[in-house]
Amino acid sequence: MLDPAMGEIIWLTVRLATITTVVLLVLGTPLAWWLARTRSWWREPVAAVVTLPIVLPPTVLGFYLLVAMSPASPVTRMLEAFGGRSIAFTFEGLVVGSVFYSLPFVVNPIRNAFEAIGERPLEVAATLRASRLDAFFTVAVPLARAGFLTGAVLGFAHTVGEFGVVLMIGGSIPGETKVLSIAIFDYVESLQWDKAHLLSAGMLVFSFLVIVVMMLIEKRLGRVR
C-alpha cells in the first residue's frame, strides 16, 4: 500500500514546509519587529496586507501569483534579465507561493509576542550598555520565544495543508510540485480510496499533534515568564 510515490510526496511536502518556515522566520522577524514597534502611518496598511491571506480565498492568491509568474509578466522578465526563468509549476514557485500564503501565521504571533514585551526590558538593556541589536537578540528574541515557536509551528502546519495556491501555480508534477493535499485529491479522483485514507489519517494525526505540542509550549513558556 505504501508505494515509493507516497514517500516522495511526503518528503516533498516536508521539504516545502521546512524551507517556507525558515524563509518566513528570517523575513518575518524583522517585519514583525517593525510592526510591533513603529509609529509610522504605514503600520496598519502593511499589517492588513500581511494578514490578507487569512481572508483571501487561496485560489485568488494563487491566480495573482500565477499571473505574476507568467512568461509575459514584469516579474518573470526581471528574473530572466538576471539569468533566471519563470518559476510557475516549479518547486521554487511553490516556496514563493507558500511564503505569501503562510505569512500571517508566522508574522502575527511573533508580532504579538514582541508587543507583549513592552518598552521596559529594552530600556533596561539600553541602560546596561546593550546596543539596539544586542538588546534585540539577548532580550527581545528570548522573551518572545513562545511567539516564535507558535509562529514556526503554525507556518509549518499551514504550509503542509496548502491546496488552493498549489493547485493554481504548481499543478501536480511528481517530485516537483505534487504535495500531500494535491495527492489526496488525485487519489480520490482516481478512486484510490485506500491511499487517500492513509494520507488523510496521517494528516489528522499530524494536525492533532501540532495542536497538542503548541498547547504544551504555551503552557510551559507561560509558566517561565
Binding site: R120, P121, V124, T127, L128, R129, P142, L143, R145, V224
Partner: protein, 382 residues
C-alpha cells in the same frame, strides 16, 4: 560653558499636555534627590538624563562631558549610567546571576572598580544567586536590580522611586542598603522620590520640582528650612542637621553631636568621634524661651536667633532660627502659637533659647536596641 564638575541640565519640551521646563546645576557627589509631588516631571527629567527620552530642546553635561546639546545626543547605551526603575524589571529569561552579569559584561572595562563579589556582599544577595527571578520577593528583586545597575560600572546612578512599589517592610529592608551604598561607593546618585522621609534620610542635595519646573536647588538642610519654600508650613515641618560625633558618654548613653552653631546631646551610640550623622528635629518638638532655662529635663537648650517667621494659619507660626549666639549656624524650626509670639514679643534677630524635646537620627541605627518602628526615627530624646 562646561568643563566644570557637576551636572548641568536643561530639559524643555511638551509631552502631551504636560510642559516640562527644568533647569538645574548640581554637584556630582553624594545623593541628589529630584523631589516633588506625583506628576511634577521628576521621572521625565531622570529619563532625559539617561537618554531614554529625547527632548529636542535639551542640554546635559556631566563633569564637563556633553551628553546632549542641540544635535548632539549620546544614545542611552553609550552613557555610563546605571538606572534603577520603580519596578525591578529583572529580565525574566535570566537567572539572578544572569541579570547581574548582563551589564557587567557590557561595561567595556577590563578591571571593573565595582566587582561582582563586592556588589553581592554590599546588597546581601549571596543566597539569591541561583534562584530564578520569579521566586524573589519585591525587596529582593529591587536589590538585584540595584546590583545589576551598579555592575555596569556607572559614573552616575539614576534611581526612579526604587522603593515606591514596595511595602513598608521591604522598604525598611532596603533603605539600609541604600545608605551603605552612599557610604561605601563614591558614585553620585540621582534619586527620584515623592517621599520626604526617604529623601531626608538619603539626600545631600535637593532639586525641588513643581508642575514641570524646578522650584529650588540646594543642600537639603538649607531647603527644608527655607521660608520661601512650602516645607516650613507643612504639619510635620522639621529641620535636618548634619553633624559630627564629638564624644560618647557611655555612662548616660549620650553622644555629643557637633552641628553648625551648636552641640546636641543625642541618646544612643552614634559611632566613634568623627563619624558623620544626620538628625531631624521636628518644629513641633522645639519650644522657645527668652531666658536660658535652668533646672529642666530638656537636654538640649540652644541659643539661637530668629531669622524668619512664616504663618501657617491665623493662630500658628513656624519660626526659622539660626543656631548660635550670633545667629549664623544651622537652621532650626520651631512651631509656636501667635499668642506666644506676641506675649514674648518675639521678633526677627532676637536671641532666644530653643528647647528641643526630641532628636531623631535619620541615617540608620543608633544602637542595637534602636527604635526603628516608624522608618526614619532612630531614637527620640526625652
Amino acid at each position: 560653558m562646561s568643563g566644570a564638575a557637576g551636572v548641568e541640565a536643561r530639559f524643555r519640551g511638551r509631552l502631551g499636555s504636560f510642559l516640562l521646563d527644568a533647569t538645574f546645576n548640581v554637584p556630582t557627589n553624594g545623593v541628589t534627590a529630584l523631589f516633588g509631588p506625583s506628576g511634577c516631571g521628576k521621572t521625565t527629567v531622570l529619563r532625559c538624563m539617561a537618554g531614554l527620552l529625547r527632548l529636542a530642546d535639551g542640554r546635559l553635561s556631566v563633569d564637563g562631558t556633553v551628553w546632549q546639546d542641540g544635535g548632539r545626543f549620546i544614545r542611552p547605551h553609550r552613557r555610563p549610567v546605571g538606572y534603577v526603575f520603580q519596578e525591578a524589571s529583572l529580565f525574566p529569561h535570566l537567572s539572578v546571576v544572569g541579570n547581574l552579569r548582563y551589564g557587567l559584561r557590557r561595561s567595556g572595562i577590563d578591571k571593573p572598580a565595582i566587582t561582582f563579589d563586592d556588589v553581592v556582599d554590599l546588597l546581601g544577595i549571596a543566597r539569591l544567586l541561583d534562584r530564578p527571578t520569579a521566586v524573589l520577593s519585591g525587596g529582593e528583586r529591587q536589590r538585584v536590580a540595584i546590583g545589576r545597575a551598579l555592575l555596569s560600572q556607572p559614573r552616575l546612578l539614576l534611581m526612579d522611586e526604587p522603593l515606591a512599589a514596595l511595602d513598608r517592610f521591604s522598604k525598611d529592608d532596603i533603605l539600609p542598603y541604600l545608605e551603605r551604598l552612599h557610604g561605601s561607593l563614591a558614585i553620585p546618585v540621582f534619586y527620584v522620590s515623592h517621599d520626604l522621609s526617604e529623601v531626608e534620610r538619603l539626600a545631600d542635595t535637593l532639586v525641588l520640582m513643581q508642575e514641570g519646573r524646578v522650584r529650588a536647588t540646594g543642600p537639603l538642610p538649607v531647603l527644608v528650612s527655607d521660608p520661601a519654600l512650602p516645607f516650613v508650613r507643612m504639619p510635620d515641618a522639621a529641620a535636618v542637621l548634619d553633624g559630627v560625633v564629638m564624644a560618647q558618654d557611655a555612662g548616660y548613653g549620650l553622644a555629643s553631636l557637633d552641628v553648625d552653631g551648636a552641640t546636641l546631646q543625642v541618646p544612643g551610640h552614634l559611632g566613634p568621634p568623627g563619624t558623620k550623622r544626620r538628625v531631624r528635629v521636628l518644629a513641633s518638638d522645639v519650644s522657645l524661651t527668652l531666658k536660658r532655662p535652668e533646672q529642666t529635663t530638656i537636654l538640649n537648650a540652644l541659643p539661637a536667633r530668629v531669622a524668619a517667621v512664616e504663618d501657617i494659619d491665623r493662630y500658628r507660626l513656624t519660626v526659622i532660627l539660626r543656631l548660635g549666639r550670633d545667629g549664623t549656624g544651622a537652621a532650626l524650626l520651631a512651631r509656636v502659637s501667635r499668642k506666644s509670639w506676641e506675649t514674648l514679643a518675639l521678633d526677627l534677630g532676637l536671641l532666644v533659647h530653643a528647647q528641643i524635646k526630641g532628636v531623631a537620627l535619620l541615617d540608620g541605627d543608633s544602637t542595637p536596641d534602636a527604635v526603628r518602628h516608624d522608618g526614619n526615627r532612630g531614637a527620640a530624646a526625652p
